[in-house]
C-alpha cells in the first residue's frame, strides 16, 4: 500500500518534470527562430546603412560648362555640367576607348552630374580649378566594395565588367573609394537605382496613414465601445452587433483593401495611392481591434466604482465620463497602439488601393501619393538588382524599430497610468 503511494508520488513528480521540459523546449524553439530571423535581417541589412563613394578629381572648366566671365547664380544653375562630368570620369583612364569611357561613366550613379553641380553651387570659386568630388558609386560597385558581389562569376553573367573592376580596384588601391554613413537612405524617396533609393517617401507615407487611421478609428471605436458597454440594452440586437464586431476583427485585411478600392476610389473618387485612402482603409481594419480592447478595459473597471458614482447621484453619463472612461483609458490606449502597430505592418490592403505605385517624391500631406514601409519592402523585394537585397532588410529593420517603439509605448502607458483600486 505504502509502496504504491510512493510510486504514484514519483510518477507525479516525473510528469511535472516532463511538463517543464516541454515548456522550456517550446520557449527555446521560439527564441531560436527569433534569433535566426533577427540575425539574418541584421547581417543582410546592416550594410545598407553604409554608402560607397568614389572620389574623382573634377576640373571645373568654364568653357566646357559654357559659362561666361563672372557668371551669376542663375548662370551656374543653368550651366551644362554633363560634359565636365563625363570628362572627369573618362579621365580616370587616359587610354580608354569610347566603349570604355561609357563603362567608366556607369561606375557612378546617374546622379553624378547633379553632385558635381551642387559642389560648384556651394563654392562658385571652384571655376577653373580642380577638386576631388565625392560621387555616389553605382549600386553594383557599392556591392562589390561591401563584398556582397560574386566577382568569380564569368564576365558575361555579371553586370560589372572586368574593365570596371580593374579601374575600381585601382581606385581602392589609391584610397579613392570611401564608405560613409548612408544619409540618403533616410532622406531620399524611392528610386529605380538602388544606390539612390531611400525610405523617406514610404516612412512619411506610413506616418500619414497611421495618423489618418488613428484620427478616424480611435474616436469612432471608443464611442462605439462606450455605448455598447455602458448604455446599450442587452438584447438580441446588441448581441448581434457584438458577434459581428468580433467577426470583423477576423476578416482578412485584403478584403478591406477591396472595400477601399470599390468604395473610396470607385465611388467617392478619393485620390489614388494616397495615405488618406490608405489610412481610411486601415482604420476599418483597426476599428474592431480598438473596440474590443476598449470594451475589455471598460468591463475591467470594477462595478463598485459605477455604483459609488450612481449612488452619489451622478447621471449615467457623468458616471461614465468622470469615472469609467478615465479608468479604462490606459487599456484602451494600449489596445489602440497595438491596433495601429498592426495597421503599420499591413501590406495587402495598401497594394489594392494603389499605394504600391512607384513614388519618387516625398509626400507633404496625406493627399499626396506615397508608399508605406511594408509596401516598400514588397516593392524592393521584387526588384532584380542586387543592391536592393540589403535595402529590403534595412527597411525591415526600420519597420521593426518603429513597431518596437510603439509597443514599448503601449507598455509604458499600461504600467504608468494604470490605477490601482482596492
Amino acid at each position: 500500500m505504502n509502496k504504491n503511494k510512493e510510486q504514484l508520488l514519483n510518477k507525479r513528480y516525473k510528469a511535472e518534470q516532463r511538463f517543464r521540459l516541454y515548456g522550456l523546449s517550446a520557449i527555446f524553439m521560439a527564441l531560436l527562430f527569433l534569433t535566426i530571423f533577427i540575425f539574418k535581417i541584421f547581417s543582410t541589412g546592416y550594410s545598407a546603412f553604409q554608402k560607397t563613394w568614389l572620389i574623382v578629381p573634377v576640373t571645373f572648366d568654364a568653357e566646357l560648362m559654357m559659362l561666361d566671365q563672372n557668371p551669376s547664380k542663375e548662370d551656374l544653375q543653368d550651366a551644362d555640367y554633363y560634359d565636365i562630368a563625363l570628362k572627369s570620369m573618362a579621365d580616370l583612364d587616359p587610354n580608354a576607348n569610347e566603349d570604355q569611357e561609357n563603362e567608366l561613366k556607369r561606375m557612378v550613379s546617374y546622379f553624378f552630374e547633379k553632385e558635381i553641380k551642387n559642389e560648384l553651387l556651394n563654392d562658385p570659386n571652384l571655376i577653373g580649378k580642380t577638386k576631388e568630388v565625392y560621387l555616389t558609386a553605382s549600386d553594383d560597385l557599392d556591392q562589390v566594395f561591401k563584398g556582397n558581389y560574386p566577382r568569380d562569376l564569368p564576365e558575361d553573367q555579371r553586370r560589372v565588367s572586368d574593365y570596371q573592376l580593374k579601374i575600381f580596384d585601382q581606385l581602392v588601391a589609391n584610397g579613392k573609394v570611401e564608405s560613409k554613413f548612408n544619409i540618403s537612405f533616410f532622406t531620399n524617396a524611392d528610386s529605380r537605382e538602388a544606390e539612390l533609393a531611400g525610405i523617406a517617401s514610404s516612412f512619411m507615407g506610413s506616418i500619414f496613414s497611421i495618423l489618418v487611421c488613428l484620427m478616424i478609428a480611435f474616436p469612432v471605436a471608443v464611442l462605439a465601445a462606450i455605448y455598447l458597454e455602458e448604455f446599450a440594452p442587452k438584447n438580441r440586437f446588441t448581441d448581434f452587433i457584438e458577434v459581428n464586431i468580433n467577426n470583423l476583427a477576423a476578416v482578412p485585411s485584403i478584403v478591406f483593401g477591396l472595400l477601399g478600392l470599390g468604395v473610396l476610389l470607385a465611388i467617392f473618387h478619393l485620390p489614388r495611392s494616397t495615405p488618406l485612402v490608405g489610412g481610411i482603409t486601415l482604420s476599418l481594419m483597426t476599428l474592431p481591434t480598438i473596440i474590443i480592447a476598449a470594451r475589455a478595459s471598460l468591463k475591467a473597471v470594477p462595478p463598485s466604482i459605477r455604483e459609488a458614482a450612481l449612488a452619489m447621484g451622478a447621471s449615467r453619463m457623468q458616471t461614465t465620463m468622470h469615472h469609467t472612461v478615465p479608468l479604462s483609458m490606459p487599456g484602451t490606449l494600449s489596445g489602440t497602439i497595438i491596433g495601429l502597430a498592426q495597421a503599420l505592418g499591413e501590406t495587402a490592403p495598401l497594394i489594392l488601393i494603389g499605394m504600391v505605385a512607384f513614388v519618387n517624391t516625398i509626400p507633404g500631406s496625406p493627399m499626396d501619393p506615397a508608399a508605406s514601409l511594408p509596401v516598400q519592402i514588397y516593392i524592393w523585394a521584387e526588384s532584380a538588382e542586387r543592391g536592393f537585397v540589403e535595402k529590403v532588410s534595412a527597411c525591415i529593420m526600420v519597420l521593426l524599430g518603429f513597431l518596437i517603439i510603439m509597443n514599448l509605448f503601449a507598455q509604458i502607458i499600461r504600467h504608468k497610468f494604470e490605477k490601482k483600486w482596492s
Binding site: P233, K234, P302, S304, I305, R306, E307, A308, A309, L310, A311, M312, G313, A314, S315, Q318, H322, H323, L327, K419, K420, W421, S422
Partner: protein, 251 residues
C-alpha cells in the same frame, strides 16, 4: 415620525421573485437595522430605497415606497435628485481612485452645492470631521483615497455620502470587510450621524444590530417576518423564526 413608508413592495429578478409584499415604516433620525440570513432579500430591499436596482436590467420593483410622502417608484421621480437625498455606503469600501479631496467633493461638485473653492473646502472639512476622519487625513487630502486602510476607506465613503447632506443614509453591511476596531469606530459614527440623518443598515451581525439600532426588521426568504423596536425583537420576538434566528439556531 415616519420618514420612509414601504407598501407591498415586490421585487423580481427576471421571473424569480426576490421580495414578497414588504411593508415597513422607517422612523426619522433613528437607526433601523435589517437582519436575516444570506439571500433573504435585505440588501435588495435596501437598494430599492435609492433605486439602485435600476442598474440591473432584469430587476423590476412593484409597489409603493414613500419617502416624505412621495412615491419614489413613480415615473415622475428623478433618480438623480432622489440619490442626492439618499446616500449609500456599500459593503466593500469603494472610494474613487482619486484623491481624498476629490472623493468627498465629487457629490457637491456634480450637484453644484459650492459656489467657491472656499465653500468646497468647508464642505470637505465638515464631511470628513463628521466621518471622524479629519484628524487622520487633514495633511494628505491630495493623496489617493485608495491608499488608506480599510476602515479609513469606509469612513471616507461615509464622508463622501454625507457631503451632499442626504436625509437618509443606506448602509449595506458597512463593517463586514473591517476589523473589530474599525467596526467600533464606524458604529460610534453611526450613533453620531443619526442626529441629522435617518439611517438604515443591513448587517449580518446581530450584536451590531443590537448595539446600533433602535428598530429592527427581520427578513427571511424574501419576506419581512417581523419588525419593531430592537429591544422587543431581541428580547421578546413574536415570531418563532425570529426567535430561532436571534438565538443562532439557523442562519
Amino acid at each position: 415620525m415616519i420618514k420612509i413608508k414601504a407598501k407591498d413592495v415586490d421585487v423580481f429578478y427576471g421571473k424569480k421573485q426576490a421580495l414578497f409584499n414588504i411593508s415597513l415604516d422607517i422612523e426619522e433620525n433613528q437607526v433601523t437595522a435589517l437582519i436575516g440570513p444570506s439571500g433573504c432579500g435585505k440588501s435588495t430591499f435596501l437598494r430599492c430605497l435609492n433605486r439602485m436596482n435600476d442598474v440591473i436590467d432584469i430587476c423590476s420593483v412593484k409597489g409603493e415606497i414613500l419617502i416624505n410622502d412621495f412615491n419614489i417608484n413613480d415615473k415622475s421621480c428623478d433618480v438623480v435628485r432622489l440619490r442626492e437625498k439618499i446616500g449609500m455606503v456599500f459593503q466593500k469600501p469603494n472610494p474613487f481612485p482619486k484623491t481624498l479631496y476629490e472623493n468627498v467633493s465629487y457629490g457637491p461638485t456634480i450637484h453644484g452645492m459650492a459656489q467657491s473653492k472656499q465653500e468646497m473646502d468647508e464642505i470637505v472639512e465638515t464631511s470628513l470631521k463628521k466621518a471622524a476622519l479629519w484628524e487622520e487625513v487633514k495633511d494628505r487630502l491630495h493623496e489617493p483615497g485608495t491608499g488608506l486602510s480599510g476602515g479609513q476607506q469606509q469612513r471616507l465613503c461615509i464622508a463622501r455620502a454625507i457631503s451632499v447632506r442626504p436625509e437618509v443614509i443606506l448602509m449595506d453591511e458597512p463593517c463586514s470587510a473591517l476589523d473589530p476596531i474599525a467596526t467600533a469606530q464606524i458604529e460610534e459614527l453611526i450613533d453620531e450621524l443619526k442626529k441629522e440623518h435617518t439611517i438604515i443598515i443591513v448587517t449580518h451581525s446581530m450584536a451590531q444590530a443590537a448595539r446600533v439600532s433602535q428598530n429592527t426588521g427581520f427578513f427571511h426568504l424574501g419576506q419581512l417576518i417581523e419588525h419593531g423596536s430592537t429591544d422587543k425583537i431581541f428580547k421578546n420576538p413574536d415570531n418563532k423564526k425570529t426567535q430561532d434566528y436571534i438565538t443562532g439556531r439557523f442562519g
